[in-house]
């Protein structure tokens, strides 16, 4: 491994070279860099910096701040081990995180951002553009993120898709740029497609449509996500599925659409449809595991967490049909805060590169999330894990969670099929609407009704 490691360190000058000689095409350089990185594949790859570099960086500390399902201590610890500098992971909830990025940008080094947060952070000028050519695996990132398409399938842009939020024209631009540039607002690191979780034994039929969530049959046994910005999209998916309304853009509703959606929610609440609403991962697991609800909007790992308790729970495959249904997609990426410079900025780039080099991809893959660079993640998954988590194949053997606890029996097939089946069926993305203030007010009407 030490040979490979040496090669990695030489890929840095490659980057410098890239900056000085513009004659070389970026693509060629990236290919070279990728080849070098590929040769050095493995978590140990980046460990072998020259001693001087190691001396200089050992006092550096990077603070990576974001939500708990995306910014994970175990990943930071591994990065610190591999990179030789200190990495601190700090968790906040979504709204506290964006507030901190905006109001105390200097207390954060790497901001973990969703697409819409990247848009906001750019607008507020708290992040700096990521120089795309310094990212070794950039060309191996799925084109869903970098080009807004996959296998010829255009990724829908209802809400704020990662692609839409990804580029700015100059490193200090505050407005997003539509189309590929050399500067990224954030670097995608983990994503998934959210849908419904349900108890197959109690629901009685296979759920493939959102409207089941508002079916009177499940009165008092349904729950919905209570994060206004995305809860309202889950509701919109339900109402669209039931044929009550057709939205122009579920991720950016007009005031009339917001009114319709919230009034309908209030009506459902008064009829006693919702047993509860939930805000955190744990709450959703609790609700399902304690038998409070039989169907609710849910995240994939939460479904897995219910199943670990030996309670049957299925993650509904809500593939797009007739222009309805589909998953609500989300993607978290890393943004570089504006105050980073010099060695610390170099270290931050090393960190970003480490993130996409596979260890993290393998780690998040084991609890049902995906890496934007599946090619590197694959190297850190066993063949069985790859088949199960990414390919949607029946598990050839018992599947363990990231901490080694058995999670799925051999032969189990993952709900929703392969990751391509899922991402191609994303119909909208997490967002912050233009009418967010109004939406929030109406959502509170629903809460207090």
């Amino acid at each position: 491994m030490s040979d490979g490691a040496k090669e990695t360190s030489t890929s840095n000058p490659a980057g410098t070279e890239a900056r000085s000689s513009k004659k070389l095409s970026r693509r060629m350089l990236l290919k070279r860099a990728a080849a070098v990185a590929g040769a050095a594949a493995g978590s140990d790859a980046i460990r072998g910096f020259p001693t001087i570099w190691a001396q200089e960086i050992k006092d550096i500390e990077l603070r990576h701040v974001g939500v708990s399902y995306s910014v994970v201590k175990a990943i930071g610890d591994q990065a610190a081990k591999d990179l030789g500098f200190k990495v601190t992971m700090q968790n906040l909830d979504t709204s506290a995180a964006i507030n901190r990025f905006i109001s105390q940008p200097n207390t954060v080094d790497i901001a973990d951002l969703e697409g819409w947060q990247a848009k906001l952070a750019a607008k507020r000028g708290v992040i700096q553009g990521i120089e795309v050519k310094k990212i070794k695996e950039f060309d191996n990132i799925l084109p869903i993120f970098t080009k807004g398409e996959i296998d010829g399938h255009k990724i829908p842009r209802q809400g704020i898709s990662p692609y839409e939020a990804m580029y700015i024209s100059k490193p200090d631009s505050t407005d997003l740029h539509d189309g590929v540039t050399e500067w990224a607002t954030f670097l995608p690191q983990v994503y998934n497609a959210d849908s419904i979780g349900y108890r197959p034994d109690l629901v009685g039929h296979e759920v493939t449509e959102w409207k089941d969530l508002i079916d009177p049959k499940f009165k008092g046994k349904a729950a919905i996500l209570d994060v206004p910005a995305i809860g309202i999209m889950d509701a919109a998916l339900c109402f669209e599925s039931a044929g009550l309304i057709k939205y122009g853009n579920k991720g950016n509703m007009t005031k009339e659409e917001i009114d319709f959606t919230c009034n309908k929610l209030i009506e459902l609440k008064k009829q006693g449809q919702f047993r509860a609403t939930w805000t955190t991962f744990d709450q959703s697991v609790q609700l399902m595991a304690a038998g409070e609800v039989v169907i609710q909007s849910m995240w994939s790992p939460a479904v897995a967490a219910v199943r670990v308790k030996e309670i049957p729970c299925v993650y509904a495959p809500v593939n797009v049909k007739n222009g309805k249904e589909g998953y609500r997609g989300w993607c978290n990426g890393m943004g570089l805060m504006k105050h980073l410079s010099g060695k610390k900025l170099d270290a931050a780039y090393e960190y970003l590169n480490w993130y996409l080099s596979g260890w993290q991809g393998g780690f998040v893959g084991r609890y049902g999330y995906y890496s934007p660079v599946p090619s590197t993640a694959k190297k850190f998954l066993t063949a069985a894990e790859w088949d199960f988590w990414y390919d949607g194949q029946p598990a050839p053997e018992v599947i363990n969670d990231p901490y080694g606890v058995p999670m799925e029996k051999a032969g189990t097939k993952r709900d929703g099929g392969s990751f391509l089946d899922r991402v191609k069926n994303i119909s909208c993305w997490n967002t912050l609407m233009d009418e967010a203030a109004y939406m929030n007010k109406r959502w509170n009407d629903f809460k207090v009704a």
């Binding site: 507030n99 008092g220 304690a290």
Partner: protein
């Protein structure tokens, strides 16, 4: 430490000593309370671009919006309902627990022991205390299981969890201690001879309670009320978790505002809540002169 003072220098010295006494409090309150409040106050008059950007200036738009909204009224009604219910139950339970500890437990060591027992729920975090209600009150929880088993009910009671009842239960569980402590404190200072004299003079237990114990515990009740009311009105987490998101409070609503970066309206709501609380607290202080009661 009493400052020694010669009569001639008394005034300036005493003055200085006075300032020294209040300085720790000032040092804490000014940076951690007054300054943030002023920032919030300023923000409530600013305009926003809707994406977290604040434009310094002076506009009453946020206040107009907050005060004109039917939502604000509903939120206050919901919050006041929780506050009133919590207050009544914490007061009744707190009063009688304190009464028992002061007048019925003869052994002082035992009284202190029992008093400490009241604080046991506080040995773990608020979140754990709330989560612990779920296996007890839930559809498949202990209470429902027991009632089903006894044949009292056929369907599990849903009202036990994720309801207003659950919110009040959690608040009462959490906040009764804030009633017990001050009431215990003021009751403990009631001279027992007074009670004995009343008994000798032929007063009934009810009269003793009505004419001696309650009036002399007034300061404790007032202090406890201030604690309970301000905590409930300033809370959003218990409402959120225990109502299963089915209810909202004033604070939860402006917390959501902060979540979507609507700082000025959130600030205006916060200022309004502060004013309402100040009004309530001063009303309590007008009814009961705590200073006089304490120094009596």
């Amino acid at each position: 430490m009493q400052p020694r003072s010669s009569p001639a220098q008394k005034s300036p010295r005493a003055n200085l000593a006075g300032w020294l006494y209040v300085s720790p409090l000032v040092l804490v309150l000014v940076p951690f309370f007054v300054a943030p409040i002023l920032v919030v106050l300023a923000a409530s008059f600013f305009a926003t671009d809707g994406f977290g950007g604040l434009t310094p200036g002076f506009t009453l738009a946020s206040y107009v919006e907050v005060l004109h909204s039917a939502l604000t009224l509903k939120l206050y009604l919901a919050t006041i309902k929780f506050t009133a219910l919590t207050w009544i139950f914490t007061l009744i339970i707190g009063f009688f627990v304190a009464y028992f500890l002061v007048f019925h437990v003869r052994n002082q060591l035992l009284a202190i022991g029992l008093f400490l027992l009241c604080t046991v729920p506080f040995w773990t975090s608020n979140i754990i205390r709330m989560i612990s209600w779920i296996p007890l009150l839930g559809k498949e929880g202990l209470i429902n299981q027991a009632l089903l088993g006894l044949g009292v009910i056929r369907q599990p009671l849903e009202v036990l969890l994720f309801s207003d009842l659950a919110v009040v239960i959690a608040y009462v569980h959490q906040l009764t201690i804030f009633m017990i402590v001050p009431i215990f404190n003021s009751m403990a200072r009631i001279d027992k001879k007074l009670i004995e004299a009343a008994i000798d003079a032929g007063a009934s237990r009810f009269d003793i309670m009505r004419l001696i114990v309650v009036p002399m515990s007034k300061s404790g009740i007032a202090l406890g009320t201030i604690f309970v009311v301000s905590i409930v009105m300033g809370d959003f987490f218990v409402v959120k978790v225990m109502s299963g998101g089915g209810s909202a409070s004033v604070v939860s609503a402006f917390y959501e505002d902060v979540g979507v970066l609507q700082y000025p309206t959130a600030a205006a709501s916060a200022v309004l809540l502060t004013l309402v609380l100040v009004a309530i607290v001063s009303l309590i202080l007008r009814t009961v002169d705590i200073r006089q009661e304490i120094t009596r």
